[in-house]
């Protein structure tokens, strides 16, 4: 009995001991009482990170309250405790500068986590997490496999300034495989992750037919509201992959389910877009919209006499025709109406990107427009129109030769028009009196040397050189031509191209080259271009680091991400190989047939022809096979917590192999058909159907976001169904 009592007493004593030692493991996160909300949020985020990393109690307070360890959040201007411990040694930082600095004062020690602005302080909170092993990825945070060393011996003295001050994340876009399919809830979660990676702008790239703005001109009202160029994606019936749609008959953006009228679509669209912008702004980012002011849904042809169809998928829009000049009053009013509609619909808008047409057709007035731009001199900074046209014709871009000439002519007229249009300062004025920043997008590279002369005063630029980053690297000399000291310039960085499309892609090495150039040439920043997130975690991780440091390489960023994630050197090495193979395959496709995986109708059956299969198909297949093996090998060797991530990559490579097998079989069927060999045709079609089935089925095993579902919806409708239809026709033929 005595023994039992003693034992019980010991247990109680031990419990008290444990709880009292537990009670000592307490820190305080101190934020200024009058600090901006974002700094208070930074403090809360830091407290969460501390608790998870060190298993301590981390309270947020405005006072140190007798704690021996205090994390001080903010700057001398926002937090008196920071002023007290660091006032003399607070470094000079810009509004984007980050400060992480350990301190000891009397009995209290800790770390200052601050920045030159509230958002910089938030980034500092995440940088503190990064420095302690937390890795921020699209779909969540990964904490280190083992807890870091004792925080009381942690010494930090880090000041970071961005090398690229504009870090824009583009969203919405135009295909079902892209963010146009994502609901707001998912986008909010993604934006939160992007804030952790220090992106500071979200730009919604919208198209004239989408349901994000309504405007009327004369008696014409906008009545077009559709997604994905009007494509509908049925995902029911006997098709692979339907399990990922939870029984839905049609694939939809979840925010638009049940919107069966124009008005409902518009209401949903505006709510969706405002939600994105507000999510971004709540995390200290700016919010922008990118649009094409001179393109309108077809119903506006009545409002613009002499309009012409715009060269675009499905030909859904009209633009000014040859008779409409840059000084056309009616056109000017129509464009102004549209721009005002955006500014009034989105009172929170920080910047408006005005896009030049992808396939410029408004080119008839280029000579008079050039005169206007040159002030009648015929030359701008010594460049003549003929020279500019010659440059466009002779360059090594997709838009070269005739397309290049058309492109430059089609740029000059709109530029003259915009220069005149935006001379009116009222056009970009918000209801609150603030001015929306103007950014001109995708001006023809032949105009780079005179960029500051051809854009409206005060405007910035977002520049597009070519579709893939590899192609831009091939023309990297163009980046040096931009007068970046005179005009704020960002570059569109294609992380994954829609032409290479549905296949696994990586372009991190090319992006590294471009980021190096941007820093070297004094560019302001970049804006991402992508559709699927898929393989992009390593790329975006690289970008987030390289934007703040000259020393980051593709390999160092890869290792920092995957060593932390997988916990193993060997696994990180194998993953390096895997992503190298994927990048090599991306390059191969880009070089040989850039539109190979473009996600549109006919994407598979365009290969149903009689010519021999190109040799590079086998080469691509081999590269993806090597990638897949390395990814599965990495999956087997990794720390268990990284397995879902690596399994996703591995399955995506496996899917690509099935896709390529389907393409090859379709071609073999086409060859058999051309030879009138029905048995061989049927056999190959059967192989193609099975491979495409397996491709989609494989993807369905690892769906993690709406782009993944969108890809399955696209493949079902643009690849599997037409192929199956052909297979059934061949079966019927064989039965006859």
């Amino acid at each position: 009995m005595i023994l039992r009592c003693t034992a019980a007493g010991l247990i109680v004593f031990w419990a008290l001991l444990v709880s009292s030692s537990r009670a000592q493991e307490k820190i305080v996160v101190v934020v200024g009482a009058n600090a901006p909300e974002l700094e208070k949020f930074a403090a809360a985020e830091l407290a969460t990170q501390w608790e998870r990393l060190y298993s301590v109690d981390a309270d947020v307070s405005t006072d140190i309250r007798g704690n021996r360890y205090a994390v001080l959040v903010g700057s001398p201007a926002t937090n008196p405790h920071v002023k007290r411990v660091l006032d003399g040694s607070w470094p000079q930082v810009s509004d984007q500068g980050i400060v992480l600095k350990s301190y000891r004062q009397g009995d209290v020690q800790g770390v200052v986590v601050g920045g030159g602005s509230a958002v910089a302080t938030l980034w500092a909170a995440y940088e503190w997490g990064y420095q302690h092993g937390i890795r921020y990825m699209f779909h969540g945070d990964f904490y280190p496999v083992s807890a870091p060393a004792d925080y009381t011996s942690d010494v930090l003295n880090l000041v970071m300034e961005p090398k690229l001050r504009v870090r824009t994340w583009r969203t919405v876009n135009d295909f079902a495989i892209g963010p146009e399919s994502w609901g707001l809830a998912d986008l909010q979660a993604l934006i939160k992750q992007l804030a952790k990676m220090k992106f500071n702008r979200v730009m919604l790239s919208v198209y004239p037919w989408q349901p994000f703005v309504h405007y009327e001109f004369g008696d014409v009202k906008k009545e077009t509201a559709m997604h994905w160029y009007g494509d509908k994606f049925r995902v029911d019936g006997d098709v692979p992959g339907k399990r990922v749609f939870d029984g839905a008959a049609i694939f939809e953006n979840p925010d638009f389910v049940g919107t069966d009228s124009y008005q409902k679509k518009m209401n949903a669209g505006i709510k969706h877009a405002r939600g994105i912008m507000q999510a971004a702004q709540s995390l200290g980012m700016t919010a922008a919209i990118s649009m094409s002011p001179g393109e309108f849904p077809r119903e506006f042809s009545r409002a613009l006499p002499g309009s012409q169809e715009v060269h675009q998928l499905k030909r859904l829009t009209i633009g000014p025709g040859p008779q409409v000049g840059p000084d056309d009053k009616l056109f000017r009013e129509l464009v102004s109406t549209k721009i005002r509609a955006f500014i009034e619909t989105y009172p929170e808008l920080d910047a408006l990107y005005i896009g030049m047409p992808e396939f410029p057709e408004w080119s008839g007035h280029f000579e008079e427009a050039w005169d206007e731009l040159s002030g009648g001199d015929g030359e701008i900074n010594g460049l003549t129109l003929a020279e500019v046209i010659q440059t466009a014709a002779e360059r090594n871009l997709i838009a070269s030769a005739e397309r290049g000439i058309q492109a430059i002519k089609g740029n000059i007229a709109p530029l003259a028009f915009f220069k005149s249009l935006f001379a009116d300062q009222e056009l970009l004025k918000r209801a609150d009196g603030g001015q929306v920043q103007l950014v001109l997008r995708s001006i023809d590279p032949a105009l780079y040397p005179i960029l500051d002369q051809v854009i409206p005063r005060g405007a910035a630029t977002l520049n597009f050189v070519d579709y893939t980053s590899r192609r831009v690297v091939e023309n990297r000399q163009l980046l040096a031509e931009v007068p970046s000291t005179k005009v704020p310039a960002s570059l569109i960085l294609t992380l994954a191209d829609d032409n290479v499309g549905v296949l696994a892609q990586s372009a991190t090495s090319s992006i590294h080259e471009l980021v190096t150039d941007l820093r070297h040439h004094g560019w302001e920043g970049f804006s991402t271009r992508y559709w699927m997130l898929a393989e992009l975690d390593p790329t975006v991780h690289y970008l987030s680091r390289a934007a703040f440091s000259d020393d980051v390489t593709v390999r160092s960023a890869h290792d920092e991400l995957f060593m932390a994630l997988t916990g193993k050197r060997d696994v990180a090495d194998r993953l390096w190989l895997a992503f190298q193979y994927i990048e090599q395959a991306t390059t191969l496709i880009d070089e040989k047939d850039i539109g190979f995986g473009f996600p549109v109708q006919g994407m598979l059956m365009k290969h149903y022809s009689g010519g021999p299969a190109p040799a590079w198909w086998a080469e691509a297949s081999e590269l993806y096979t090597k990638a897949m093996i390395e990814l599965y090998r990495s999956h087997d060797g990794t720390h268990p917590r990284a397995r879902p991530v690596l399994f996703y990559y591995a399955k995506r490579s496996e899917y690509v192999l099935e896709y390529l097998a389907a393409v090859s079989a379709v071609r073999a069927a086409g060859v058999a058909k051309a030879k009138d060999d029905q048995d061989a045709m049927l056999e190959q079609l059967e192989i193609a159907v099975e491979s495409m089935y397996n491709a989609i089925d494989t993807l369905s095993d690892v769906v993690r976001d709406q782009s993944d579902r969108g890809l399955i919806a696209v493949l079902i409708n643009h690849a599997y169904r037409p192929l199956y239809g052909e297979y059934e026709r061949a079966l019927e033929l064989a039965d006859q």
Partner: protein, 476 residues
Amino acid sequence: MFRLVTVSIVFVVLGTSAFADSWPQFRGVNATGVSAQSENLPVQFSYQDKVRWSVPLGNGIACPVVADERLVATAMVEEERFAVICLNSKNGEEIWRREFETKNLPTIMPPNTQASSTPVIDGERVYVYFSTLGLLAFDLGDGNLVWQHPIPEAFYLLDWGPAHSPIVLDDMVIFCQDDDLSPFILALDKFTGEVRWRTERSEMLAGYSLPVICTANGQTDIVVAGSGKLKGYDPKTGKQRWTCNTLLRTIMTTPAVRGDTIYVSVQSYGDTDRVLRFALLQWKDTNQDEKLAKAELDQAFWAKFAQGDKNKDGFLVGTEIDEAFQAPTNMVGGGNIIQAIRGGGQGDVTETHVVWKLDNKSPSNIASPLVAGDQLFVVKKGGISACFNAEDGASIWEKKRIRNFGNYYASPIAGDGKIYVMGENGYVVVLEQGRKLKVLAKNDMGESCVATPAIANNSLYIRTLTKLYCIAEEIK
């Protein structure tokens, strides 16, 4: 002794009447996949059509088991919560449910899930295996836990994860756990959970074949297909009676027994020279230096590693890998086989009891063969089917598609003159049982499915990834 006799009698009575149409374990009576009693089974149906009842279960791939009005299924109802659920098989009403915290779940590889082992029912109790809980016996009437027997954790070199299921033979629960660490077969007293016998199967690598019962020449054997060898055990002692050394390295299918013959169909990755070493060097040698380091393997295998590391250089190289993990007496590789082996042997029957064998690419690596009537039917990925004469292995048809693509993890079953083939995509293809491939219907169950359905009470019980359906024609 009195109790044993009584129970044997009860079992016999139940076995011939009340339970004649039961589906007591994976693939029904003795894992044949054949229902002898059910009639008027539906041809055309779906998750919306001819559904007598349906219930949400939770995630799982184990087959439902049925004894007259009782049906038992399992599921993961939360990430670390396992449930055993007893339903009224006629109306789907829940009779009882037992839930367990699972904790520390093992690593598994899809399509395996944590709730993957099929229970076995004997009319009085239901016996359930779960990786972290061991073997559990529940009173079928009220769900009370009768006993629990811990089972050593299974370890798999390639992380497939546990999916072994128990069977009942007379008054014993038989459980075979072929893993890569310490494979064994075990018999427990079904009333108490006490160990009757345990036999090590040290020659085996990981596999998932369910033990089956074969009576031939008046001799009843527990027959287990494992790496390279089909073995017969004495049910009373667990001693090995015979071995037929004609199988392949990895056995995930379960044999089918008809009369005195055991039918095996297997696809094991790679050709006949591909021993385990090659798979390990492919997937576990992370740094690809052509040798295995300790750190590249789960700690559970370090003792085996040490045994194999003959020169003690800290690495397994070449044949050291074989010697560490694959028994020298059983160094088999991959391939494709279909075999008929006569039961009732003694000793090594490799040369004496193989009735016929085919080196044929028809088999699946996971879906088991179906012997219905005098035909052996197999189906594999892509819905590619083949059918052979059970007597002599003569081909009836081969490489014919059942018009449903995708993976096949569930095994085909038969009843009422029809063959039901469940695709992983959630479609059940119904074939006419006959000498020509005839697709009668293709039915959408609306959700992915890995579990083999059950047939009982003139109904199909189909367990999709999260739901259970009872499908039947209207009772006239």
